[in-house]
Structures are given as structure tokens and as C-alpha cells.
Amino acid sequence: MSVVKKLCTILCMIAIPCMGTFPALAGNDLPTITVIHSRTIDNIALYVGVEEGLFEEAGINVKLMYVKGEQNILAGVLRGDIDAGEISLSSLCKLAEKKIPIKLVSWLGHAHAKTKCGIHIGKDSKYKTLKDIKGLRIATSGSLAAKTLVRRAAELGGYEMKDIRPLWGGRPDNPMQHEAALRSGGIDAFIV
């Protein structure tokens, strides 16, 4: 076998297994963007888009990157380390005030009649409706969105903030901790 043939054989042996690993070798010379995700169920459309090949079908590769915290994400986007970030409406309103040079191009959904996110209370709690939440000890993340929802919930029940006992920043990270806190009676409710 000539040197050239040997070289070609070696190159083929390297290139063929790599075709699935490197998109360019597999004929996928689509542009790639880095998009943030927050490891939540609410990002389902991003996961489906990647896994079902819907972004590729649209002519783009999407690389998902996890970064915690809107401030960190914004810093990454403004620096150019991340191409697309995720932001809440409340934070967008704040950024409007500061005239930060970003544009929201699509929302990722809204609450509806079957939404399970909201104020969760212990299964055997004495609180039944928003009309009887006087004294309710409610833990929330302390975000602007959570504060707005708690304030509005109190208002719907006919109360003011002084009538309930919010614990800002008191929201645990995972469901098991929520469950433990509710079962222990240390807290009456969560916004989750």
C-alpha cells in the first residue's frame, strides 16, 4: 500500500467515527448559538427543540447552558458569552428603567386555569381560601414577581401585607425541603 493510500485509510478511520461528534464533519454547518436554560420544567420548549431536532430543522444548532440567577445571565449576555438569555417580566420592567440594550423576542408561556404554581399550604392547614389568610406564614423567594403575587393575593382576600407574615428569601431550593418545612409546621405556605 502506498503512503498516500495508508494516509487516506487512517484519515477515514478517524473521520468516520467523528462525524456524529462534530456537526461540521457530519454535514451540519449550521450556525450555533448558546442559549440559557434554568433546569426547570418551564424550559420544556427549549429541551424539546433540541431533542426533537426542531432547531436544526429550522437551520440552527442550539447549545443549552445552565447559569443560575438573572443578573449572572444578563452579565453573560451583555459580555457576549451567551447569545440568548431568559428574563422575567418584572426584571424586564426594571431594565426598561435603566434602558439596557436588550430586546425580548418571545415569551415562554403564562399561567392558566390548570396551573399548579401558586400558594401551596400544608395538606391539613386551617387556611381554606384567600379570605381567611390572616396570620399566614408564607415563604417566598423575595423576587419582585413573588412579592407582587403575595401582595395581590392578600388584596384579593381583603387584607394588607401587615395582616400576613411573609418570609422573603425563605424559599428552599427543592421540593423535599418544601415538604419538610410544611410537614414540620414551621411554615404555613409557599409560593412555588
Binding site: I44, E52, L64, T115, I119
Partner: protein, 126 residues
């Protein structure tokens, strides 16, 4: 999830408190949009197709959740999903914003329309 574990019941959902409460959205910098409009359009074509897929093949879509969220599969199959809509009406967003101002969490209303650009969305989705 808490409900499914029998640990809690829902007193009021976000929707009960503020109908159609809008959560989060995707954004790019103004520079990126100016330099890469086609890339953004392609991303949004894929995203809107994903919305349709989740809406029309919900159980199939849910199967992708455990890989990314680390939430147990049984929970991923029953948890409530958002209603996916790429372009929310400005009036809905302003109502939500107005509450924040009314409760003193923000000083005054801002023109949030300057922070939103639906023009990159595919035809028919805005």
C-alpha cells in the same frame, strides 16, 4: 409536585391571583439582533415549532424533562405546564407591571414596549 406527594394543597394558583400571569421570556442584545437577524429568526422558528410540539404531543415532550431538570420522571409526567404563547399582548404585560407600581415595588410605569420586539417571530405567531 408537593401536591402529588400529599404534602400540600393549592390555596390559590398564580392564575387565580393574576389571570394569565406571564413568567419569563427569551432575549438577545440589540447588537446581536442587528448583526444576526436571520439566526434569531431561525431560533424562533424552532422555538415556536417546539411550542406546537409540546401542545400537541405533551406526553412525548415531557419525556425530555428528566434529562435536563433532574426532576423525577413520574413528577415530570404530571406537573402542570405553562400555556405556551410567544407573543403576549402588551396590555397583559402592562397590567402586571401596573400592579408592581401600585404596590410600591417599582417607582413608576416604564414603556416596556421599547424592550420587546416580536418582529423576529415567524408569521402567524404574533
Amino acid at each position: 409536585m408537593l401536591e402529588a406527594h400529599g404534602a400540600s394543597r393549592i390555596l390559590a394558583s398564580f392564575h387565580d391571583i393574576v389571570p394569565h400571569w406571564v413568567f419569563t421570556g427569551m432575549y438577545f442584545t440589540d447588537d446581536f439582533l442587528a448583526e444576526n437577524p436571520d439566526i434569531v429568526r431561525k431560533f424562533l422558528v424552532g422555538l415556536v415549532k417546539s411550542f406546537d410540539f409540546v401542545t400537541n404531543h405533551e406526553m412525548e415532550a415531557r419525556k425530555h424533562l428528566p434529562k435536563y431538570t433532574k426532576v423525577p420522571e413520574d413528577m415530570c409526567m404530571i406537573c402542570a405546564l405553562r400555556e405556551l404563547q410567544p407573543a403576549e399582548p402588551l396590555s397583559r404585560l402592562e397590567d402586571q407591571h401596573r400592579l408592581m407600581v401600585r404596590y410600591g415595588f417599582m417607582k413608576e410605569m416604564q414603556d416596556i414596549s421599547t424592550m420587546i420586539d416580536y418582529s423576529y417571530l415567524p408569521e402567524g405567531s404574533h
